[in-house]
């Protein structure tokens, strides 16, 4: 132990320092410094002024060559120089090592001040004993304010929490002061110091910081979390026997065959009648003959009559809307119009459907390139509309206008000389404007344009 009583009295500070450097590598210097401070704090462990002086020197020597402000133990020196009780009381202080550091004599202080500000070789050549006995009380008041400022700056960068720790060691000698011999025993001191410095988690490294009380949150509380097991009767879901086996499929077969043909081309009158009769006999057969919405356009084009009958039979199906939407979106033709027309007269069609269909017809009329076909289609639309209005399928009272679409229509109406039908139209309603509403597109048939000059 370098700081033992004997060695500190006899050896020079320089040789003590070099011994320290030999014993500990650079990485351990911080730990060594902490240990020295601990010994300094516990006055009983380092009783002699020589030891104290040597300790301070070593502490300084550990970080020799670096600027004072960077020395991790700079605060210690400041505190040693300005003992808290001498400075103003009650102010907010840097607390890291305060309170328990020993009070230094004037000689020691002067030595320290010199050490910090202006270390000289000669100073370190002496033994601690020599320094203590020498009269160095002459150069007082060394200016250390610059170092203090640098330190304060560096400390303020640290968060408050890391500045708030205190060591966990509390001296317990006061209560027994009378009973125990006043002579400090070297061996016990050594043991105590070892107990404090050595170990898995040495006490010297521990510190107490004010700690928050962190409450554990309550267990989440809720209702109906556990699984209530209900009987699900899994044995009731069994594989199913196909009871339609060999039952009545022979007619269905023929119907299916005819239907498949009907998608591809017109059936003969006889075939049509046969198919319709079979459908009539078995109301469920319509679902079995292989008609899907995607196949409907083919059927409409090839066999509109069958398509009408089939659709009428499918009216109760929940899929009828799918068939409708296919019908609305298919290419406009005489046949499709015929089918829709028949449907409107037989069943209640959703009004949106009718409106959508009309608007589709109109846009087809507008976009078609072939002039002849256009004329034909427009005429068809007019007949169709006339029929719708006559049957009160659509309500011409509703007047909503959109300008862009109507003129073209009107013009093409004129061109195709379909006045007669339009005339009839105008007679049905006394309104000046006939407008037909649909969901997306409004169009208007302008009265003035309809009546030819």
């Amino acid at each position: 132990m370098i700081l033992s009583e004997e060695s500190t009295e006899s050896q020079s500070l320089e040789s003590l320092a070099s011994q320290t450097h030999q014993c500990f590598s650079k990485q351990d210097h911080y730990k060594v410094g902490c240990a020295i401070i601990l010994l300094l704090q516990q006055a009983d462990l380092l009783p002699k002024p020589c030891q104290r002086l040597a300790a301070i020197t070593l502490l300084h020597d550990l970080y020799r060559g670096e600027s004072m402000a960077m020395n991790p133990f700079a605060t210690v020196f400041i505190h040693l120089l300005h003992h808290p009780e001498e400075t103003s009381k009650g102010s907010v202080r840097k607390l890291e090592y305060a309170g328990q550091l020993p009070r230094l004599s004037a000689v020691e202080k002067n030595f320290l001040a010199q050490l910090i500000t202006n270390p000289t070789k000669e100073l370190l050549k002496k033994t601690p004993g020599q320094i203590l006995s020498s009269d160095m009380g002459l150069f007082h008041n060394v200016d250390i304010t610059s170092i203090q400022l640098a330190l304060a700056e560096r400390q303020s960068e640290l968060p408050h929490t890391s500045r708030s720790g205190i060591p966990v060691i509390l001296p317990d000698n006061e209560m027994r002061i009378g009973s125990v011999s006043l002579f400090p025993e070297q061996s016990i001191a050594k043991k105590t110091a070892e107990a404090l410095l050595v170990g898995q988690k040495p006490i010297v490294e521990q510190c107490y910081k004010p700690e928050f009380l962190r409450l554990v949150p309550p267990i989440h509380s809720c209702e109906d979390e556990l699984v209530w097991l209900n009987a699900t009767e899994p044995s009731e879901h069994k594989a199913a026997y196909d009871i339609t086996m060999c039952v009545s499929n022979c007619e269905g077969v023929e119907a299916k065959r005819l239907m498949a043909r009907a998608f591809k081309g017109a059936l003969t009158l006889q075939q049509q009648q046969h198919l319709l009769a079979e459908l009539e006999n078995d109301p469920k057969l319509v679902y079995h003959i292989g008609l899907t919405p995607s196949k409907l356009p083919d059927l409409v084009e090839s066999n509109p009559l069958i398509a009408i009958e089939v659709l009428l039979k499918l009216m109760q199906s929940s899929h009828i809307t799918e068939y409708f939407s296919v019908l609305v979106n298919m290419e406009m033709s005489l046949h499709s119009m015929e089918v829709v027309n028949r449907l409107t007269t037989t069943v209640d069609l959703p009004t949106e459907f009718v409106h959508l269909y009309i608007s589709n017809c109109i846009s087809t009329c507008e976009t078609i390139k072939d002039r002849y076909m256009q004329n034909r289609l427009v005429r068809l639309v007019c007949v169709f509309l006339q029929s719708l209005i006559r049957n009160k399928i659509i309500n011409v009272q509703v007047s909503t206008y959109k300008y862009t679409t109507h003129s073209y229509i009107s013009v093409s109406l004129q061109r195709t000389r379909t006045y007669w039908s339009i005339r009839n139209l105008t007679f049905i309603s006394m309104e000046k404007y006939y407008s037909i509403l649909n969901d997306n597109i409004y169009f208007k048939l302008t009265y003035t344009l309809l009546i030819p000059n």
Binding site: I166, S181, V216, E223, S235, H237
Partner: protein, 710 residues
């Protein structure tokens, strides 16, 4: 590649051809019709051998008829008591090949004739618990429900309903039940053309009595009633459910199913004693586990466990649940063991999915957690989470286990008598060199770990809790709906449930019932609070602050969570060196009440207050601090800590003094107070004089501890 495509195209063309040719089979002769009729009769009489004889004759006469081949496979399967499942699958694959049906691709289903094949596939998948695949098939089949032959249609409806309930979709199921009732039960001929009519039908439904119909329709109707009741239970629509169950019991008498449903109803209403009485009346059944595929004792013990859990008796609940697990194991063991080559054979089909161990594990885990056995609970829940990893609440429970294993509760910190010895960790040296070593830390819940081990391995640590909580947060929906929450009106739909309702308020939480909006909100609060706590324990202050702040802005915040939000936010802020912000959070006025649950508005909707049990609102586990003064003392103590850390020792001392003074009846203070007092004194260097005078009381305790330890 090109080759492959052309081959595929060829194949497709072939299939197409085959399909169009398929109907062109020889016309069915009268003899064949007779055989078919006889086979059906024998099948219905469960005489599978003689049925098979007829089918063999038929097969010889009509080798190309897929329906004959199909039925032969079915009858052979029935003849084996539904045990030769693997063989059945092979046969069915063969039938599929013959019928040019691709069983894997449900979208290719176009012909109503093939529905039965797909249905049988879905039945298999259902029993193998592959619910989502089965459900997909059933949705497709359901689009052919109208042309379908009626008895098959009934089966299809029931299986679809069951699957939807298995997937915890009560709102969709309810819509489907209504649709099915209108289609098949009320009157098959009635035309649905307008919504109005449906509504009136709905009204009729309530007064509907079993007037007409044969036995088959009656059972079908009963089944629908059961499904309706299960939907309502799942949605906590208890009033509607009560009516349904009453109908069910009047019409069908007490059966295992209806008794359990009734027990479930009483249990959900909080009438635990009544629920217990109800389940004790489970009728004795002659049918065994092997016949039913489910075991009544498992149900009984498990449900008893649930009841006791919510009666606040976790130990008893654990006992019942363990009993249920035993019964479950016994039932499973009673079945012959499956062989390696044919894993699904040897046992009847409907017992394949009969193992309830995951549900039971979940129940037991939650109960053990409440019984304060976090490690055991953790083990159970890690079992359950392998199957139910989409359940946010289950992840929270896992995290709670970890945290409980880490720090069991708060109360011991307030037991000064017990904990004072923790102030001093030891004494070093003797004589003049004697030193007292104080504790560096009173709380043991901070853990900055830098071990390199992966925390994805489930161990009950705080790190794993952190992972669990992240999962829980991800599984909760982002934002709560702004509009006032309402249950989907149970009777207002005419659409068959093919199109799912776009916005469901319910959050999936299998194996529990789906979480209602209120529970989702309260779950989110709990997850956030625990996340903040765990982040603080791990030293992750930014994250802790985020969670705490998020917690504080939740609309349905309970008193306890509000207080915790402030405490956690303050601690995180101090550690982030924002002490003034922290001090704002540490105002004791922030705590106004200490409720554990946000008052629910939802309950008024459906529960008539008259018959709700009294145990309803009491949380299962009391929480400490349980008095307002104690809670405020905690906040004030933390305020003192914040002052002390900022170096304002006078303020800290003053605050701490207030805390110490408030100690007394109904107000406990934590042990930390003494340590902080000591700290302030040491810092102020008043060791000899001021300390004794100001904090005489505390110092006394300290001295006591001192000599006690020394």
């Amino acid at each position: 590649m090109v080759n492959q495509i052309s081959k595929m195209a060829e194949k497709e063309a072939e299939t197409e051809k085959a399909k169009s040719e398929a109907p062109a089979q020889p016309v069915i002769s009268d003899q064949e019709k007779d055989w078919a009729q006889a086979a059906l009769t024998e099948f219905n009489r469960n005489n599978y051998s003689s049925c098979l004889q007829h089918l063999v004759k038929l097969e010889a006469a009509r080798p190309q008829d897929t329906k004959v081949a199909h039925n032969k496979a079915i009858v052979e399967y029935y003849k084996s008591d539904l045990k030769k499942t693997d063989q059945f699958r092979k046969n069915m694959n063969f039938v599929c090949g013959q019928a040019h049906v691709n069983i894997e691709d449900v979208d290719s289903l176009e012909d109503v004739e093939h529905c039965v094949i797909y249905y049988n596939q879905a039945v298999l998948l259902y029993h193998l618990k592959q619910y989502s695949t089965a459900l997909k098939i059933m949705h497709k089949i359901f689009s052919f429900i109208e042309p379908m032959e009626e008895s098959l249609a009934h089966c299809v409806c029931l299986l679809l309903l069951e699957l939807q309930l298995c997937m915890h979709q009560p709102d969709k199921t309810l819509a489907l039940v209504t649709y099915v009732e209108n289609q098949f039960v009320v009157s098959t001929d009635s035309v649905i053309s307008s919504e109005k009519e449906i509504k009136s039908l709905e009204k009729e439904h309530k007064e509907m009595k079993p007037v007409t119909g044969d036995a088959a329709t009656d059972t079908f109707r009963l089944k629908l009633l059961q499904y309706r009741a299960r939907c309502y239970l799942m949605m906590h629509a208890l009033k509607a459910c009560k009516r349904e169950i009453k109908n069910l019991i009047t019409a069908g008498g007490p059966t295992l199913t209806s008794v359990l449903l009734k027990g479930n109803l009483e249990y959900q209403r909080g009438n635990y004693r009544k629920a217990m009485k109800v389940i004790n009346s489970i009728p004795q059944s002659s049918l065994s586990f092997k016949d039913l595929g489910e075991s009544a004792p498992v149900f009984y013990y498990s449900d008893m466990g649930c009841i006791h859990h919510y009666m606040g008796k976790p130990q008893l609940a654990c006992y019942y649940l363990q009993k249920a697990l035993q019964e479950n194991e016994m039932a499973t063991k009673s079945l012959p063991k499956a062989e390696q080559a044919e894993p699904y054979s040897g046992r009847p089909l409907y017992t394949l999915g009969s193992n309830k161990s995951y549900e039971l594990m979940y129940n037991l885990g939650v109960t053990l957690l409440h019984a304060r056995c976090p490690i055991k609970a953790f083990d159970c829940l890690t079992e359950a989470v392998q199957v139910y990893h989409m359940n946010p609440r289950l992840w929270l429970r896992l995290a709670e286990c970890c945290v409980m294993a880490h720090k069991a509760e708060n109360e011991s910190d307030f037991n000064i008598h017990m904990r004072r010895k923790d102030l001093v960790q030891g004494v070093v040296g003797t004589g003049t060199h004697r030193k007292i070593i104080l504790t560096p830390q009173l709380s043991k819940d901070t853990k900055y770990s830098c071990e390199g081990q992966s925390f994805a391995i489930p161990v009950a640590t705080v790190e794993f809790a952190c992972l669990c909580l992240r999962n829980a947060l991800l599984l909760l929906p982002d934002s709560q709906p702004e509009d006032p929450v309402s249950l989907p009106a149970p009777h207002s739909t005419d659409v068959p449930a093919i199109t799912p309702s776009p916005s469901s308020h319910y959050v999936y939480a299998a194996p529990s019932n789906p979480l209602g909006p209120h529970e989702v909100a309260s779950l989110r609060c709990s997850v956030l609070a625990l996340s903040a706590y765990v982040a603080l324990c791990l030293g992750d202050y930014m994250v802790a602050l985020d969670h705490a702040q998020m917690l504080l802005v939740q609309p349905t915040l309970s008193g306890v969570h509000r207080m915790l939000g402030h405490l956690y936010a303050a601690e995180a802020l101090v550690l982030l060196d924002k002490i003034s912000e922290a001090i704002e959070h540490l105002n004791p006025e922030h705590v106004k009440e200490l409720s554990l649950m946000f008052p629910s508005s939802e309950k008024d909707m459906d529960r008539d207050k008259m018959d709700i049990g009294t145990e309803q609102h009491k949380p299962l586990r009391a929480w400490f601090p349980n008095t307002l003064p104690t809670a405020r003392a905690v906040i004030q103590y933390n305020l003192a800590v914040a002052f002390a850390i900022r170096g304002e020792l006078d303020k800290a001392g003053e605050t701490l003094k207030q805390v110490w003074m408030s100690k007394g009846q109904g107000c406990d203070v934590p042990i930390h107070v003494i340590m902080l007092a000591l700290y302030i004194e040491l810092q102020l260097d008043f060791m000899k004089t001021g300390f004794m005078r100001c904090y005489g009381g505390i110092f006394h305790v300290f001295c006591y501890t001192w000599s006690y330890t020394g």
